[in-house]
């Protein structure tokens, strides 16, 4: 038997200082990838249809994304903790109607929004309590609450509906108005996203959400108040679903018992496309927000390009798969790169 006794070739040590930034940069890159896809898509559409990026066009694009961005932001927090909230669509629907009923009776728009948020918080708490105290699978529980809230909503609402005529003009105008091309609603969403991202990055309790999603048992051993954090994530998610409900009302001026029906799959898609991993512990709200923007924009881009609506659904699905596949391939490349860097140490 021979042992290949080669002369010890000096392995090139990676410059350590650069490596930190590299890792950071690479994780940002995943969001960047979605952004690039988004921009390319917009550019192509603009080339094909010069009306697309008119002031009205931009406003529409942003407005369309707003509601999904808000809900996806809340959802990504829950997903980061290795849970999921499927009931967001139902929560959105019921809080939109609640706000509408209140406004219909001549209420104050600000109070109406607060009311919707509070209702959302209520359902978020319910989910959070069931998941964290009951320690039961989030998927099942929130699928259950999806049905429960939806059922309660339709029993309560019946065939009633709230139309723009029932709402104060200021509220409806607020829903479509804005500062030139930037709608007020989009500004609200932007504030929420940036605030949430800052919190997640800069505060201990935010990092703990990542920790407990990454390894729940280790989180317990590290003394992280797991239940409290999960409860908080669900509550926040509920609150944003409620807020989204109020904004939905302002935007569409129309709510009935089916509002928000089936929204959960869209939200989950946005979060997944945005690179938030379903097994918890990684991803960012910027990613989720970009995912939401990307998804809603596809729905504006295809009609603007004159693609027959017959094709829209198929293209949507294929683009969704492409987005996650590209993201995955980027991630794999990164992992290989990381591994090669770390292959020689110690």
């Amino acid at each position: 038997m021979t042992v290949t006794a080669t002369d010890p070739t000096p392995t090139t040590e990676a410059p350590k200082a650069g490596s930190a930034r590299l890792v950071d940069r690479i994780f940002k890159m995943r969001e960047l990838a979605i952004l690039v896809v988004f921009l390319v898509m917009i550019a192509v559409t603009q080339a094909g249809n010069s009306e697309f990026l008119s002031e009205q066009g931009i406003r529409d694009l942003l407005l369309n994304a707003t509601i999904l961005v808000l809900v996806a932001t809340g959802q990504s927090l829950v997903v980061i903790t290795r849970n999921v909230d499927l009931s967001v669509g139902s929560t959105l629907g019921i809080s939109a109607f609640a706000a509408g009923t209140y406004l219909q009776g001549g209420g104050n728009p600000v109070v109406a929004i607060i009311l919707a948020v509070l209702l959302g918080i209520g359902f978020g708490l319910l989910n959070g309590l069931l998941v964290s105290l009951g320690q039961v699978p989030a998927l099942v529980v929130t699928l259950g609450t999806l049905y429960i809230i939806r059922g309660i909503d339709s029993i309560w609402v019946g065939s009633r509906q709230i139309t723009a005529a029932d709402l104060p003009d200021g509220f409806v105008d607020f829903g479509s108005g804005g500062l030139s091309a930037v709608p007020y609603l989009a500004l609200i969403a932007l504030v929420v996203v940036v605030g949430t991202a800052y919190y997640l990055k800069q505060f201990g309790s935010g990092r703990e959400l990542y920790a407990l999603g990454s390894n729940p048992e280790a989180a317990r051993l590290a003394g992280i108040p797991v239940r409290k954090r999960i409860l908080a994530a669900y509550t926040f998610c509920g609150a944003l679903a409620g807020l989204a409900g109020a904004l939905y009302l302002a935007r569409f001026g129309n709510v009935d018992s089916s509002t928000g029906n089936g929204y959960e799959l869209t939200v989950v898609s946005a979060v997944v496309v945005g690179g938030v991993v379903f097994t918890g512990g990684s991803g960012s709200v910027y990613g989720a927000a970009l995912g939401a923007l990307l998804l809603t924009s596809i729905n504006s881009v295809l009609p603007a390009l004159g693609v027959s609506s017959v094709w829209v659904m198929a293209i949507n699905g294929i683009l969704l798969i492409l987005a996650i596949a590209v993201d995955r391939i980027v991630a794999l490349r990164v992992a290989t790169a990381l591994k090669k860097r770390n292959a020689r140490h110690g």
Binding site: D7, A20, D24, A222
Partner: protein, 505 residues
């Protein structure tokens, strides 16, 4: 019960007549223990003796069924790990508890990050503190690297760094060295000595007895959950300690039988996996035990993974009995008679939620079937058979392996693979976390297997084990095979020299 507390100070942390049961298993029975400042205290006992349970009781993970925990002489109740941490107790658990998605520095400082104004995290300070810890431990890990992908050894090092970062009054370590090689252990001990001098109390668990003698002053022995003795180590011999733990004398630890090697069973030719290992060639003959030594991260595990087919290799080839193996196909490797006992029993060796029986049965699904269906009778007898042979300590064969102690889990992994009756057996850290008694048993088994004509490749970071068991020692350094040393020439010095790249044979 005598307390040879010569220091005269009061114990920082103590257990008083603590009992703890899991269902029908009485893991601890009226156990008492005192930890004094400035002292390293060893906890010894066989697998399943209750050491980890005791530690988890001290750490607030388990609440004792009876008895109490005393902190500075006053009874306390820890409602969770957080309480114990706040009381100044740092714990390294037997199994690494890292957050794979977070960076090393976040893993270390989770929940305790240095803060800036408004309670925001000071990322710079966190990074610097981590780098500092890494320097103290003498390892070269990037603080910003995610924990995912770290080898078991590196994970263990991060755990150690985490525990050190507490500046705790009490440091509890459950087998921190099980995955480490000599040099890391030496560095760890250096740090522990400093801590001891600074007045910390340390509780240390290891199945490597020499380590206990090296660093500890007193030892508490447990057997089957019961307290046996707490005494000074001074004047005790390893045999004395083993007798306390096992309750009888042990046979020889390395019962190597001499065999004449037969045909070449496993042949690895110029195997390369880019960036991981390069140009690795060796043979293992029937009846031979070949040791594979090297520092942590030298690439030994990676070679084993590639040979077995878990990872694909980029170049080279592997033959069993002269027939080439398919690249990246564990099932065909198994069919050819290859078995791999992996190093990470929890993630790779076992399906934790499955029963002992089914875990052992898993490797025989294809061979022991009747009319295409699972032969449950055969499965049961096979697993009972091997569980008994390896002296696995369990309540019922249908219990989930997750309920077993670490060492007993390791035995189940061995059982699972030995049950396949392999021609070539690769064992990666086969005795990690196994108590001395069982270790001897495992060695006897390996030896017996070799005598029966099985070719054994043994990867181990436990150098005495390699030296004691191997007919030949291969040494890896930075992804290359750097030496082959015959049994007669193999000493700690020659192996370490090759492992650190200072000499090539």
């Amino acid at each position: 019960m005598t307390h040879p507390s010569t220091t005269g100070t009061a114990p920082v942390l103590a257990l008083e007549d603590v009992s703890k049961s899991f269902g029908a298993v009485r893991a601890l029975r009226d156990v008492s223990l005192e930890l004094f400042p400035g002292e390293v205290h060893a906890l010894a006992g066989e697998n399943g003796a209750g050491k980890s349970t005791l530690i988890k009781t001290l750490a607030g993970v388990h609440r004792p069924d009876a008895g109490q925990v005393l902190l500075d002489g006053t009874p306390v109740v820890f409602h969770g790990p957080g309480d114990a941490r706040d009381a100044g107790i740092a714990v390294i658990y037997q199994e690494p508890t890292l957050f794979p998605d977070l960076s090393i520095s976040e893993n270390i400082f989770m929940g305790r990050q240095p803060r800036r104004a408004l309670g925001r995290i000071d990322h710079k300070a966190t990074h610097a503190a981590t780098a500092d810890l890494m320097r103290r431990l003498g390892v070269d890990l990037d603080p910003d690297q995610p924990a995912r992908g770290l080898s078991i050894a590196d994970q263990q090092i991060v755990e150690i760094a985490k525990a050190l970062s507490f500046d705790a009054r009490v440091l509890i370590m459950d087998e921190p060295t099980a995955a480490l090689t000599g040099s890391e252990v030496a560095r760890l001990f250096g740090v522990v000595r400093t801590l001891r001098e600074q007045g910390a109390a340390v509780l240390f668990i290891s199945h490597r007895l020499e380590e206990i003698f090296q660093i500890c002053r007193r030892v508490t022995t447990l057997r089957d959950g019961a307290w046996i003795a707490s005494e000074l180590l001074e004047g005790m011999s390893e045999d004395d300690l083993v007798r306390r733990m096992v309750g009888r004398d042990l046979e020889e630890l390395y019962p190597k039988q001499d065999v004449t090697p037969g045909e070449i069973a496993l042949s690895v030719r110029r195997l390369t996996r880019e960036g991981v290992f390069t140009d690795v060639s060796f043979d293992v003959r029937c009846g031979e035990i070949v040791g594979l030594a090297g520092l942590v991260g030298a690439g030994r595990t990676e070679v084993a993974r590639a040979v077995f087919g878990i990872d694909r290799w980029d170049a080279g080839e592997v033959e069993i009995d002269g027939k080439p193996l398919v690249n990246g196909a564990p099932s065909t490797a198994m069919a050819a008679g290859l078995a791999l006992v992996p190093e990470d029993r929890r993630a790779q060796g076992l399906v934790m939620d499955m029963s002992i029986e089914r875990n052992i049965g898993l490797t025989g699904l294809r061979t022991t079937r009747k009319a295409g269906l699972v032969d449950r009778g055969a499965e049961r007898s096979r697993s009972l058979d091997w569980a008994v042979k390896l002296q696995v300590k369990y309540a019922r064969i249908a219990d989930a392996v997750a309920t077993l102690s670490g060492g007993n889990q390791q035995k189940v992994v061995l059982a699972k693979w030995l049950a396949t009756g392999p021609k070539v057996l690769i064992v990666d850290e086969p005795t990690r976390g196994i108590d001395v008694g069982t270790k001897a048993e495992v060695h006897r088994l390996l030896s017996q297997l070799a005598a029966d004509g099985v070719a054994v490749l043994m990867i181990s970071s436990d150098l005495p084990e390699v030296l004691g068991m191997a007919d030949r020692v291969l040494v890896m350094h930075e992804g290359r095979l750097t030496a082959e040393i015959a049994r007669t020439d193999a000493t700690e010095e020659t192996v370490m020299a090759a492992a650190t790249g200072r000499a090539a044979a």
